[in-house]
């Protein structure tokens, strides 16, 4: 492995990188945040000062080396500074998902034994106070936004800016301590601890060292030729490894500017105003945008609509090839240029993608149509495959070799091997140090030579060398007749329909497959509006006969396409039910990163699954739901079970192998 023992030119920690940026290009913008309707900005030199003041304030408050400091809130420059300030005093930042309910927060804070919490506002402070009694180590809470907090007991509660003020005032006392602590940071020091949301069991604390973060940031930045000139929009959860690498790792390594939206609801407007050059989004964001574009085009005038569809058709034909640098005829190129002037350009501008050089999507499979749509417009959208334990990068798609059905080639310095069971293993400088306080899990995931099991099944495609993912290894099973059961494959096909939000397929060990389906309220609601279908609630819309009929047609279409695949033809959906509620992370049905927790769903909806297999037409059920504030309630519903036509398949000969 190509590891430099001395670190990347002596820059072995984020505070060191910060120092480099502040001295080499101190006047360049480091952070922007829209507040009070204006983009406020901070240069690298200003950032260094802010971070220093906070770090001094933290020492003044009693933060020791090795302490854990939890950071909770939406993406704001102040919280990004907190991470680096915490590191520079030798403590470990632990970003926590801001939408976590109090109990989840209690687990994470208790597990790492955080002595300090830096929270964004009253909502987060309230959650911490709610669970404070369970947390013996917790001493001080810092908050950013004082609104509503005036009347709270301030013995252990401090306003962020006051801590900075105290730090500035105490600069003479503590500055040498701060410098000493920073000097002690090496490539092996812990950079950050991130909790994985985990589809099974409790979250695990993944410890990442400076080596992990800086090497990964360096390699990936080289791979995509990222420079100081990039602008990114940081809107994904700060507790997610991806955001940490993009908004901190790469931003500090390259020295580019991190832009924070005004609020969660203004993300799309802010995206357009910033026009990022480097962008990362889960498939969901791209799907929503495409759906919105299509809905709005239906309301446009006839001329515009025809022009839109005509040029989009042309883009579909040649756009991808032009982007990949493949030969395309002169006339086609000319027409594409015209389309760019009339349609693609304005459309990209509306979406905020005019300046994108590199865009990534990951986390879930993206629908090929959606993927190709963006690429045909000339947006260099690519896929990558990664996980927290790898500090994101396992495989990435190089420019010119981008396809919807693979996740690319091994990232720089990453080695990959597939074991005899089909599970993907990797080894890289990004491989995590350990799971905090969990040596058993560490040992079962990472072997002595540093190889990490991903838990995903996949194979390397012959010829291209690209990796293709089949499914989570533990989800791949066998059906009663011995044929392969790979739920993700079918679920993704279904999820590519805009009106289907989530699918859970059952059938492991059974003779046929059945599915739970969640409708997408935005798409189906819009459809209902256009077709004059009245509905009062999600539940009513989900049970509407016309909705069921349209979902049924999608299922049957997917069945036909699944039947064509020899290996997986057994996975056709025989019966399905459209659920009366959305699967929700607050109920524990999906993770905070929107991955279905199969085991949990199976247990919780046991009665519905039974009904799917015993042939009944309806099932009455009562389901417990958790509201955003943690209170519980329940909803009852009678659900219709729908039979879907399947394509008969010749009995497998392969099954006997």
């Amino acid at each position: 492995m190509a590891q430099t023992q001395s670190g990347a030119g002596g820059l072995q920690s984020l505070p060191a990188l910060l120092h480099r940026n502040a001295t080499q290009f101190g006047d360049a913008p480091a952070y922007r945040e829209k507040e009070f309707g204006i983009w406020q900005s901070w240069t690298w030199a200003e950032t260094a000062k802010e971070i220093e003041a906070l770090a001094l304030g933290l020492i003044n408050l009693g933060v020791n080396e090795g302490d854990f400091v939890a950071i909770i809130g939406r993406n704001r420059p102040y919280l990004y500074w907190s991470m680096v300030a915490v590191q520079s005093v030798g403590a470990v930042p632990v970003p926590v998902y801001q939408d976590a309910v109090a109990e989840e927060m209690a687990y994470v804070l208790g597990h790492c034994g955080a002595r300090f919490v830096i929270a964004s506002d009253q909502e987060q402070v309230d959650k911490v106070i709610e669970v404070q009694d369970e947390l013996h180590q917790l001493e001080h809470v810092l908050y950013l936004d004082p609104r509503g907090l005036r009347k709270y007991d301030h013995h252990t509660l401090h306003q962020y800016s006051h801590v900075q003020d105290q730090g500035r005032a105490a600069r003479d006392e503590w500055i040498t301590d701060l410098q000493d602590r920073q000097a002690k940071l090496t490539y092996e020091s812990t950079c950050v601890m991130l909790y994985t949301s985990g589809t099974t069991g409790k979250p695990k604390g993944v410890v990442l060292s400076n080596r992990n973060v800086i090497e990964s940031a360096k390699n990936s930045a080289d791979f995509d030729h990222l420079t100081r000139g990039e602008n990114i929009l940081s809107y994904l959860p700060m507790a997610w490894v991806g955001d940490f690498i993009f908004s901190i790792g790469q931003a500090y390594w390259c020295g580019f500017c991190v832009n924070c939206p005004e609020s969660q609801d203004t993300m799309m407007t802010d995206l357009r105003e910033i026009g990022p050059t480097y962008f990362f989004a889960p498939p969901r964001v791209f799907e929503t945008q495409l759906t919105n574009v299509m809905i709005r085009m239906e309301d446009a005038g006839a001329l515009k609509r025809r022009m839109f569809h005509h040029f989009l058709g042309h883009a579909k034909k040649v756009g991808g090839d032009i982007l990949d640098g493949n030969p395309v005829g002169f006339m086609d190129r000319l027409k594409y240029q015209l389309g760019n002037l009339l349609v693609y350009g304005p459309l990209k501008d509306t979406l905020g993608y005019s300046r994108i050089r590199v865009g990534y999507t990951a986390g879930e499979a993206i629908g090929p149509e959606i993927f190709d749509f963006y690429r045909s417009l000339g947006i260099n959208l690519k896929q990558l495959y990664g996980q927290t334990e790898a500090t994101v990068f396992i495989t990435v798609q190089p420019d010119g070799e981008v396809r919807a059905d693979t996740v690319g080639v091994p990232a720089p310095d990453v080695e990959i091997r597939i074991d005899d069971k089909g599970e993907i293993h990797y080894r890289s400088p990004g491989v995590f140090v350990e799971y905090y306080k969990n040596p058993e899990s560490t040992a079962s995931t990472k072997d002595a030579e540093g190889w990490v099991a991903t838990g995903d099944a996949g194979f390397i495609e012959e010829g291209s060398g690209h990796l293709r993912i089949i499914d989570r290894a533990k989800d791949v099973g066998k059906m009663a007749n011995g044929s392969m059961f790979a739920p993700k494959y079918v679920e993704n096909k279904l999820k590519f329909y805009p009106d289907i939000l989530e699918v859970v397929l059952f059938g492991n060990g059974k003779d046929r497959c059945a599915a739970f389906i969640n409708i997408d309220l935005t798409a189906v609601g819009n459809w209902a509006e256009r077709n004059n279908i009245a509905y009062a609630s999600y539940q009513e819309l989900a049970g509407h006969p016309k909705v069921l009929a349209s979902i049924q047609s999608h299922v049957e279409e997917v069945n036909r396409s699944v039947a064509a695949d020899e290996m997986l033809s057994g996975c056709q959906v025989h019966r399905f039910v459209v659920l009366h509620k959305e699967l929700d992370a607050d109920d524990g049905e999906i993770t905070r990163t929107r991955k279905v927790r199969r085991g949990f769903v199976e247990d919780k909806y046991d009665d519905i699954i039974t009904a799917l297999y015993d042939g009944s037409d309806t099932i009455s059920t009562t389901t417990e739901v958790t509201y955003e504030d943690g209170r519980k309630g329940s909803i009852s519903a009678t659900l219709n079970i729908v039979d879907a036509a399947v394509v008969p398949v010749a009995q497998h000969k392969v099954a006997a192998e």
């Binding site: 507040e35 009070f36 309707g37 204006i38 609104r147 509503g148 609801d265 203004t266």
Partner: protein, 272 residues
């Protein structure tokens, strides 16, 4: 003459100051109909004061008297230690009283931002020509006012609809925009006419929080009319209860809750 006592301390520890506004023996008639009959009460600095009562009790009329929209036939309105002469509503607004309306009175075709900017009208000193020509002073003034408006927008969390025409907004958000416009005037006394009417539970909770935050953050004195008893009892420091134009109760929520006359008015009493 004026009650100059120092005020009191609320249950949650807020200090309530002296009397800001005092209504003395107000009687309001519309022809032969007596809408308000000899009512007196006061509003103190920094408190949240509610006026409640069944339909047709005269609550909105009372608020209109406070805001100067109606002129009572009898009685006096004292504001900040002086008897208020007969005034036009805009003069009252200049004194530092702002309000919202029961049936939303926003400019539907204008954006949220522009609507809230109208709340700053009393702070604009330049004339129409200076503004039309965008002279230095007008520009500076616009910037200052916009800064204040943006603070209010941030405070009420309506950044995402800043540029949206009001007509396109759902009801709950329109109510919030109205509150924003009233706040933009930096009022000393804020009058809210049924701020929660027609809202769902979640919207009510949001609105309650905003009302408390306004009071807490800016120290604004708030007088509100509300139907929803639960909300009133949670929010307010003192409550005036009206029925058929008369005052039948006045005190803390607990006192009012246990007042027999109030219970009768709300639950009905047999007239035998």
């Amino acid at each position: 003459m004026l009650d100059a006592s120092e005020g009191y301390v609320t249950e949650d520890g807020r200090k309530i100051g002296g009397v800001v506004m005092e209504m003395k023996n107000i009687t309001l008639r519309f022809g032969g109909v007596v809408a308000i009959k000899d009512i007196s009460f006061d509003i103190r600095e920094g408190e949240i004061r509610a006026i409640i009562g069944p339909n047709g009790a005269g609550k909105s009329s009372m608020l209109n008297v406070i805001s100067g929209f109606y002129v009572p036939q009898e009685g006096e309105v004292w504001f900040r230690g002086a008897k208020r002469p007969q005034m036009r509503p805009y003069e009252v607004a200049r004194q530092g009283i702002a309000r919202t309306f029961q049936n939303i009175a926003l400019f539907e075709g204008m954006s949220v931002l522009d609507n809230v900017m109208t709340g700053r009208l009393n702070y604009m000193k330049t004339n129409i020509f200076q503004q039309a020509l965008w002279m230095g002073k007008a520009e500076r003034e616009e910037t200052e006012n916009r800064e204040m408006v943006e603070k209010v927008i941030d405070f009420l969390e309506i950044q995402h609809i800043r540029k949206t025409p009001v007509a396109r907004l759902p009801y709950g958000l329109k109510k919030r925009v109205e509150l924003a416009r009233a706040l933009a005037a930096e009022p000393k006394l804020l009058l809210l006419d049924e701020p929660m009417a027609g809202m769902n539970v979640e919207e009510k909770e949001d609105m309650s929080r905003f009302i408390l935050d306004v009071n807490d953050e800016f120290g604004t004195t708030i007088a509100l009319i509300e139907h929803d008893m639960g909300v009133v009892m949670d929010l307010s420091d003192r409550v005036v209860v009206m029925d058929y134009g008369k005052k039948i109760g006045d005190g803390t929520p607990d006192e009012v809750r246990n007042n027999q006359e109030v219970i009768d008015a709300y639950l009905g009493v047999s007239h035998d």
